[in-house]
Symmetry: C2
Subunit: 110 residues, 2 copies
């Protein structure tokens, strides 16, 4: 794991992209099959509508997720991982494994 100086800018961009507040949790939610806006929101403790909408737009701009409008009544909006997003699976898996070993569970809310 050596490479020319300085630290690869692509790694640097990638780590801060998935680590931006809420972004990792949104990507994780989509891997577990939550696709509708309300399902994603429900899966992520504490996220506000403003933040969630902003992050979904950012991830869409980055080409990690795509937004689909389902012609139902009422109209539904779904989000899916693109190929670029799907290929984050090894990263997400490795980080889940690491976190289950090293990150203590936060105290349960009262």
């Amino acid at each position: 794991m050596t490479e020319p100086h300085p630290i690869c800018s692509r790694f640097h961009i990638a780590v801060e992209l998935i680590g931006a507040r809420w972004s990792g949790a949104i990507i994780r939610a989509l891997f577990t099959g939550r696709h509708r806006y309300a399902e994603i929101k429900q899966a992520i403790d504490g996220v506000s509508d403003t933040m969630l909408a902003q992050r979904l737009r950012r991830l869409e701009t980055e080409g990690i997720i795509e937004r689909r409008v389902i012609a139902s009544s009422p109209v539904q909006v779904e989000y899916h991982l693109t190929d670029k997003g799907h290929e984050l699976e090894p990263v997400v898996e490795a980080l889940i494994n690491w976190s289950h070993k090293w990150v203590p569970l936060p105290p349960a809310p009262k």
Copy 2:
């Protein structure tokens, strides 16, 4: 890759820990053998002393790196990954692979 609702808080904590501004780049620099403060700073384009010092302290508090003072003249400060930090290697490797496929190189500075 399914798990009970909501998204595991440990994953959420972990992804935002390594994705915090500069943190991923610092961890990456330590994997490539840059240990002294000045070497780490040199490896990371654009980081200020204030930010680097703050991030090193945070990563030390989180138990991901440790700080050693070398009794030399002048005194040198080195940083090393702990076991917890070293075990991020699969995450870092997976993210390097992903970024080399999906993240375009930023334009070279003039």
